[in-house]
């Protein structure tokens, strides 16, 4: 298949935001299915078993404060593309103040309703139907941590997405990303098997074209003031329904990156891109 032979370059993007309207429509249809642990989103539910400890342990190792029972207490987290809140809720339970944003209004509605029954979570988590660019202006350097889990393979403009992350993140803040690599293996297993054959992921969820190789992600991160600390491969076992870590990043992988500090090397593109973004968001018709 010629699909595998040419090196794919990310097409030049003319969109005004990182949100892809086709993606939005896809997720709208499944908005009410988020919280069925054995339903369409089962694999995302069980992914919490590795991504929550990954985030938790990384943050714990970076701080010296420890509150018994609330290990993430005092940490402000932005969950970008939070969907129904599958990752926001555990992080909230661990003590963090979480802001979850998602361009699909139905997702936010589902997330809001689900957390409303738990008085503790209700106070700790705030949801907002929004794209990342839309909150940049009011949230400059606001968050200690950003998590973008299973998101970057859906965005229209990855470069802009990362830039926005950098802007809303405090210096030395952490960025956690989980996503899917772009390999022959990820096409066969991630799309053909997972979507069409085994139905692990709802069909049409992913487009192989938009998968992101870790090298490219690292390049974009490093050129936007981030220092990549960890890259780990992840593997889903469809028989047990559980996730584990693995050496190879040829399928799914997780990244931890840290934004350089206030006195870190200032980046030549920082100033222009800031005004760029402000202009764009002023004119942006958001895709939701």
């Amino acid at each position: 298949l010629s699909l595998f032979r040419f090196t794919v370059k990310r097409p030049f993007s003319t969109s005004h935001s990182s949100v892809d309207s086709k993606e939005v429509k896809k997720f709208q249809l499944l908005a009410h299915k988020w919280w069925d642990e054995e339903g369409e989103y089962a694999a995302l539910h069980s992914m919490n078993d590795i991504r929550v400890p990954f985030i938790r342990d990384t943050l714990l190792s970076m701080s010296s404060n420890y509150h018994l029972g609330n290990p993430l207490s005092g940490i402000k987290i932005l969950d970008v593309g939070c969907g129904g809140g599958l990752l926001s809720e555990p992080l909230g339970r661990l003590g963090a103040s979480v802001t979850g944003i998602d361009p699909v209004e139905d997702n936010i509605r589902t997330a809001d309703r689900h957390k409303s029954f738990d008085p503790v979570l209700d106070k700790r988590i705030q949801y907002k139907s929004s794209s990342l660019e839309e909150i940049v202006e009011e949230s400059m350097e606001t968050f200690d941590v950003i998590v973008a889990s299973e998101v970057v393979e859906h965005v229209a403009d990855l470069e802009m997405f990362i830039k926005c992350c950098s802007q809303v993140l405090k210096p030395e803040g952490s960025l956690f990303i989980t996503t899917i690599n772009k390999t022959q293996l990820s096409y066969v297993l991630g799309i053909v098997v997972a979507e069409k054959i085994m139905g692990i992921v709802p069909e049409g969820t992913h487009e192989w074209e938009k998968f992101v190789p870790p090298e490219e992600l690292e390049r974009i991160l490093e050129s936007n003031g981030f220092s990549v600390k960890t890259v780990n491969g992840m593997l889903y076992n469809p028989l047990s329904g559980s996730w584990g870590w693995m050496e190879s990043t040829s399928l799914n992988y997780a990244v931890h990156a840290v934004k350089s500090g206030a006195w870190g090397q200032s980046h030549p593109t920082d100033a222009p891109s800031e005004t760029d973004i402000q202009q764009r968001s002023a004119t942006a018709g958001t895709a939701s």
Partner: protein, 349 residues
């Protein structure tokens, strides 16, 4: 531990191992638990003298506008809601019934008689004794240098008799149960003796010197009681937002002395899985980790409950072939350390 129908016995001795186990009066355990509860009163609230009268289960998660938690209504009208309901309400568990969890159960044709007994003479009372009579095992569990606890599993009729007879006759019955050789047959005795010589050829140290059980002088007046025995096992220990532990999940014959230990094991296992789930920020009522608890405990409990049931049936007969089988089995087990040690470790876990 020995058979009433033969000379076969098995001794678990302290020299081979560290503390084999502990026998603690229920009151002492309750007192210790109450102290611990007081120490964590800021996190644990105990409603004494209260009773749940109704449970309302959550509807399937993806279709509800009502609370997804379990609602509990108390007798005094108070309402509680919880992410996880733990049923620790004994073998007639209401939680289990209300959750419509099927229970495999079987009533034994036996009741247990319990009492607190005073020994004829004060002694280094550190040995637990159990003799398998055809009607059921009788056990003496040490409480102090002068007192022991009785657990006598026997037929319902005999149990009622024991409960109503005067104290002197009761004490006589106990002593006779431990000392009488009325159930021995010459055949079995010779067969047992022959097996014992065979073992001593293979293993000169053979079987241990025989100690003698204490004799009883009197019984604590108000302490006699009886309760029916049965076996039970819940087909599921967990459901969404529900977990069963202790006798609510499984009920076993007292002959192995393991009932409460199984319950303690359940508690330790559930606490471990809930703690891990909490550290992952999980919803405590989520089936994912509850199922791990269920698998771990069922694997452990089912084999023990089945083995206890088999032992109970094996020792409920005077039929020569079965007596011979268990005689030889017990003698062999007594002579071979590794088997004994493994058995014991299984029992004490």
């Amino acid at each position: 531990v020995w058979d009433a129908c033969s000379e076969a016995m098995i001794v678990f001795e302290k020299d081979d191992l560290d503390d084999m186990g502990y026998i603690v009066e229920n009151d002492v355990i309750m007192s210790a638990l109450t102290k611990q509860l007081d120490a964590v009163a800021d996190r644990v609230e105990v409603f004494y003298r209260s009773r749940a009268v109704r449970y309302t289960w959550p509807l399937p998660s993806h279709s509800c506008d009502t609370s997804p938690w379990v609602q509990v209504e108390l007798a005094d009208g108070r309402r509680l809601q919880t992410k996880l309901l733990i049923g620790a309400d004994g073998h007639n568990s209401v939680v289990r019934k209300e959750a419509e969890i099927k229970n495999v159960e079987h009533q034994y044709d036996q009741s247990a008689v319990v009492a607190t007994l005073h020994l004829s003479e004060a002694t280094d009372n550190n040995v637990a004794w159990q003799r398998f009579l055809p009607t059921g095992p009788i056990a003496l569990l040490p409480l102090s240098d002068t007192a022991s606890s009785l657990v006598w599993s026997t037929s319902h009729d005999h149990a009622s008799e024991l409960l109503t007879m005067d104290e002197e006759s009761f004490v006589d019955s106990i002593n006779s149960a431990f000392w009488s050789n009325i159930n021995h047959s010459d055949f079995i005795d010779s067969a047992g003796a022959m097996f014992r010589s065979a073992i001593s050829l293979l293993k000169p140290s053979g079987t241990a010197v025989r100690q003698l059980p204490p004799s009883i002088a009197k019984v604590d007046p108000e302490s006699r009681a009886m309760f029916p025995l049965g076996m039970g096992h819940a087909t599921e220990y967990v459901q969404h937002r529900v977990a069963l532990i202790g006798d609510a999940a499984h009920r076993v014959h007292p002959l192995a002395g393991q009932g409460v230990n199984l319950g303690f094991g359940d508690v330790a296992c559930l606490a471990h899985h809930l703690s891990a789930a909490a550290f992952n920020g999980s919803d405590l009522g989520s089936l994912r980790h509850l199922l791990k608890f269920e698998t771990e405990r069922q694997r452990h409990n089912v084999s023990l409950i089945a083995a206890t049931d088999v032992l109970k049936r094996l020792y409920s007969t005077t039929l020569a072939p079965l007596v011979l089988l268990r005689t030889w089995g017990l003698q062999a087990t007594n002579a071979l350390p590794p088997v004994k040690v493994r058995n014991l470790l299984q029992g004490c876990r």
